[in-house]
């Protein structure tokens, strides 16, 4: 064994030698047990160090970094920091879960059917009060007194304004679902109104329009309540 050969062993191990140098060294290794033993040890050194595991920091290092760069108050406890962040996020956002959406849809169907049933029972389209509710069963149709139609429109506008103002309190998906549902209800109202102009005496169409308008009002009220719940 001599330095002439051993000095090349790391390069050999790393594939840094050219073909001629490699062949020359391999020829030497075949007849030199000492150099072969050193080569094996060098292999073990590389394997050993590459098997070392990274050590994670003992604790949260962010507090010190934050303090030095002056971007935020030091975070003393990472779990506490995460918990407070989650609380802040939940305060900013209000989302509706899928079960809640399903429950709301079912409620709307029930309310709609209920209002139609009450209209057909009373045969009356008029009612008292500014805003129809599930309790009084008031229905609104095209033949309603002007002041009632106006109060209905005013209630719708007021609720839409509340929703618009509270839009930032709702998450994007919820806003999209509300808008899609309102569009569907508005289309249904427009269809019922068109049908009524062609057949103004139809009790069924009157009931249907009343139920649909009521559905819109109730939907807006529920949406405004949800938005208002976090304000």
């Amino acid at each position: 064994m001599s330095d002439q050969w051993t000095d090349r062993l790391s390069d050999y191990l790393d594939g840094e030698l050219n073909a001629a140098e490699r062949a020359e060294l391999e020829e030497h290794l075949s007849g030199c047990a000492e150099c072969s033993a050193v080569l094996e040890q060098l292999r073990q050194v590389v394997a050993r160090v590459q098997g070392l595991e990274d050590r994670a920091p003992d604790g949260d290092l962010w507090s010190g970094v934050a303090e030095r760069i002056g971007v935020a108050a030091p975070v003393m406890d990472l779990d506490d920091h995460r918990r407070r962040k989650q609380e802040r996020l939940s305060e900013r956002r209000f989302s509706i879960s899928l079960p809640q959406l399903v429950a709301a849809s079912v409620a709307l169907v029930v309310l709609s059917a209920g209002s139609a049933w009450m209209v057909s029972r009373t045969g009356s389209l008029a009612g008292e009060g500014a805003m129809p509710t599930a309790a009084n069963g008031t229905a609104l149709v095209s033949e309603a007194p002007a002041e009632l139609a106006t109060s209905y429109d005013a209630a719708v506008v007021q609720l839409q304004l509340i929703l618009e103002e509270s839009r930032s309190q709702l998450d994007t998906a919820t806003v999209r679902i509300i808008e899609e549902n309102l569009l569907i209800i508005d289309r249904a109202i427009a269809q019922a109104q068109r049908a009524l102009t062609m057949d103004p005496a139809s009790i069924y169409l009157k009931e249907h329009l009343a139920a649909t308008k009521r559905q819109k009002l109730e939907f807006l009220r529920q949406a405004a309540l949800m938005a208002g719940a976090v304000s």
């Binding site: 040890q41 290092l61 010190g64």
Partner: protein, 133 residues
Amino acid sequence: MDLADEVTQDVFVRVWEKLGSFRGEAAFGTWLHRVAINVILGRRKQLGIRRERFVDGERTIGQLSSNPKGAETAIDFEAAMEFLPDGAQQVFVLHDVEGYKHGEIAEIMGITSGTSKSQLHRARMILREHLDR
């Protein structure tokens, strides 16, 4: 807080300070790695003066490993890495731990590729004596 934690914080503070100089020419991870290495090398230079009072590279390691009390007091493999001579240690870590090539190490450390190769071999030759510990 130990030295590694201190240096880790130094790295992220430096990254924050240097963020404006990141031009996107390399992947952010690569850039961050380079910043980290520069911070570590800078810190090692500061500590080097202090280390030299106690350690004289191969000579010290040799003395420790040939301690007459035997394996009980002989340093183990990981500890031996800590006591490698500075240049050899840096090249060894950059090459065998971090996976840099000699050309890259030469650029980072301001040395030639040949020097990087010889320092690596030197480090490995020292550490092979500590494989069984």
